[in-house]
């Protein structure tokens, strides 16, 4: 199916009234949740995921994708107005967004954020539209050894660029792989790692795991902090950037769109990393780097544009290879599997309405984000006045609803609580939780692929070094890993602490 036909099919699906409603709701809900400090896109999707149970696969992903980039934008609002980042990737936003707000330019700062995000998202979506079918075509020719190499590489890269210690990140990946192995072995049908529990013989579901680690764990972590009351917020004036702002930001926006697009495809490259790398590049290229950190419009534009571009391009490896590059898309992978749709090379052929419907809905969602966030900014700002001491207990109640209604089992709620406590402790001891959820999703892919590869090679590991596809991948991944480790090392030297990706 060529690109234009595919997009046409996609828009037919995305423009159906119920899907338009879902993407609108998703963008709004995502922005609302993103306003809450500490609850990033992963927690937002984990908590809101059960809303989509009654929907079909396409509608569910359309809504969750809307929540995803709505949440990314929502986190910017408290970052700019209050110097309180809503999630890890909005930490960089505070560096120049808040100083602009302090100088009475909160409106243009929010406007630059919205417009930069829109342009970055649009460029990334064009890239997604063109490259995704090409990658899917190539990916359909890969076999189990290539799948294993890609999945292991994805997990390893995400662990290497995780915030904090790499030893801890790899431990978290191992933990995620073991949790995924609980239950019944797919090939032999034997129970394993159930510790004698009948309930565990069904395995651990992704919803209690994700809600527990990212939702309840965060709530427990924030329970220790002094919850702020309602903020004193001034009126926002003049949302649109001035001509001078445009002159300064137009080139950084275009550059960051492309940079964010490529970073988003890489495992762990979306979100915080794309924001930081783009900010660093812009600062280096700027003729007045001393302005950065004091309200530089181009610094703000660079980080916001790259962030949204990477959020969109991250769908390429998910949809075409079945390999989620970050924790949010790992959850979306889980949702598709729940609806019996397997993301990967065959998705474009087996379920073109899902593949193209998601892409088309992202075009619509990108426009909606701009349409909502410019005129409705005043409403969102008012929501910041609702004390978090009232908002966060609601998160617990919603999380309970969601986890329980997934399988109608109280056992899942207990699992979520246990992982909530584990998530709290992991955060306290500075472990990044992203590798856990990625490993949980990729574990079955790696194990099944590995066992099939060993059957193909009669037990010889040389199969991974004999095939041109695996050799090329390993070389490419080694180069990418070197670049990303270098970029992350620079990030950890210069960025603030406590910037764990969620």
């Amino acid at each position: 199916m060529d690109v234009l036909n595919g997009l046409s099919t996609g828009f037919e699906v995305a423009l159906q009234p119920e899907n338009l409603l879902y993407v609108t709701l998703g963008v709004l809900l995502g922005t609302l949740i993103g306003l809450l400090p500490g609850l990033g896109p992963t927690a937002a999707i984990a908590v809101l995921l059960p809303i989509t149970f009654a929907m079909d696969a396409t509608s569910a992903i359309i809504m969750l994708a809307g929540i995803y980039y709505g949440c990314m934008y929502g986190g910017r609002i408290p970052a700019i107005l209050l110097n309180v980042p809503g999630d890890a990737s909005s930490v960089i936003t505070t560096l120049d967004g808040y100083p602009m707000a302090q100088r009475g330019r909160a409106g243009p700062a929010l406007g630059i954020t919205a417009i930069g995000s829109f342009i970055g998202g649009s460029v990334a979506l064009l890239g997604l539209t063109i490259f995704a079918p090409i990658v899917a075509g190539w990916a359909s020719r890969i076999g189990p050894p290539e799948t294993v190499v890609l999945a292991v590489a994805g997990l390893l890269l995400a662990s290497l660029i995780a915030s904090g210690s790499r030893i801890k990140a790899i431990m978290m990946a191992a933990f995620g792989l073991l949790i995924a192995a609980i239950g019944i072995d797919n090939i032999s049908g034997q129970q394993r790692l159930t510790f004698g529990s009948f309930e565990l013989s069904n395995g651990i579901d992704i919803i209690p795991l994700a809600v527990g680690l990212f939702g309840l764990g965060e709530v427990l972590y924030l329970a220790e902090k002094k919850l702020r009351g309602s903020e004193t917020l001034g009126k926002i004036k003049g949302i649109l950037p001035s001509k001078e702002d445009w002159k300064i930001t137009r080139v950084p926006i275009l550059r960051s769109s492309v940079l964010g697009f490529f970073l988003g495809i890489m495992p762990g490259g979306g979100g915080a990393l794309s924001s930081i790398v783009s900010y660093g590049v812009q600062k280096r290229l700027s003729k007045q780097p001393e302005r950065f950190g004091k309200g530089a419009q181009d610094g703000l534009a660079a980080t916001e544009t790259a962030d949204n571009a990477s959020s969109n391009s991250a769908f390429i490896p998910l949809l075409t290879l079945g390999l989620p590059p970050n924790s949010v898309l790992a959850l979306l992978f889980g949702v598709l599997m729940m609806h019996n749709v397997t993301p990967g090379p065959s998705l474009i052929e087996d379920h073109p309405e899902v593949f193209w419907g998601i892409i088309a809905s992202m075009y619509i969602g990108n426009v909606l984000l701009l349409l909502f966030n410019l005129p409705l900014i005043g409403v969102f700002v008012q929501l910041l006045r609702i004390p978090t001491g009232i908002m966060f207990p609601f998160v617990i109640v919603i999380a309970f609803c969601g986890v329980y209604s997934a399988n109608n089992r109280l056992f899942d709620v207990y699992v979520a609580v246990v992982f909530g406590i584990i998530g709290y402790l992991l955060k306290k001891f500075r472990f990044d939780m992203t590798p856990v959820i990625l490993a949980f999703i990729l574990g079955p892919v790696i194990e099944t692929g590995f066992r099939r590869a060993m059957v193909m090679s009669d037990g010889s590991m040389t199969i991974f070094f004999e095939r041109p596809g695996t050799i090329i991948m390993m070389i490419a991944i080694a180069c990418i890993a070197t670049f990303m480790v270098f970029a992350t090392s620079r990030r950890q030297k210069s960025a603030p602490a406590d910037s764990t990706d969620r």
Partner: protein, 156 residues
């Protein structure tokens, strides 16, 4: 400094100085448990792997890295603010007791109680705000999830 404060301070310093050793020890226990659970399973051969090969390999990998963390780790845990232990324990207690309360009395009373306790005692708001939040929140969330989204939740 009172004896109680002295003990709290000593505990805090112990955890701060040995944060990575504490977490590494916990990880060694967890990975050790997984190893013990998987070692009794059939390994098979590489050409025909049994159910035990994969989890055993990963558990060993986890143990190795936990050992490295124990030897090399130097991170300090994130400090909690003063007087926050009670809020944390309260929130944890609500989380742990929420499900059993639901099975006894249903969603609306269980949620109302959870919201009341958290808004009043963790959020520090007055009784009126807390009661209103509890009533509106429990009924509102039930309405959205059970009636609006048709998800299976028992009200009472």
């Amino acid at each position: 400094m009172t004896a109680k404060k002295q003990r709290a301070f000593t505990t805090r310093m112990f955890v701060l100085r040995r944060g990575d050793k504490i977490s590494a020890t916990a990880a060694l226990v967890v990975f050790g448990a997984f190893l013990a659970a998987s070692i009794g399973l059939e390994f098979g051969t590489l050409a025909s792997a049994g159910p035990g090969l994969w989890p055993t390999s990963i558990a060993v990998l986890g143990l190795v890295f936990a050992g490295l963390l124990f030897a090399l780790g130097r991170d300090t845990p994130v400090l909690a603010e003063d007087q926050s232990g009670k809020r944390l324990l309260l929130t944890m207690a609500v989380l742990v007791l929420y499900a059993p309360t639901y099975s006894l009395v249903g969603f609306i009373p269980a949620s109302a109680l959870a919201l009341l306790v958290l808004v009043r005692f963790s959020g520090g708001f007055g009784w009126v705000t807390s009661l209103l939040s509890a009533a509106i929140g429990s009924i509102g969330v039930y309405a959205i999830f059970s009636i609006g989204l048709n998800l299976p939740i028992d009200a009472f």
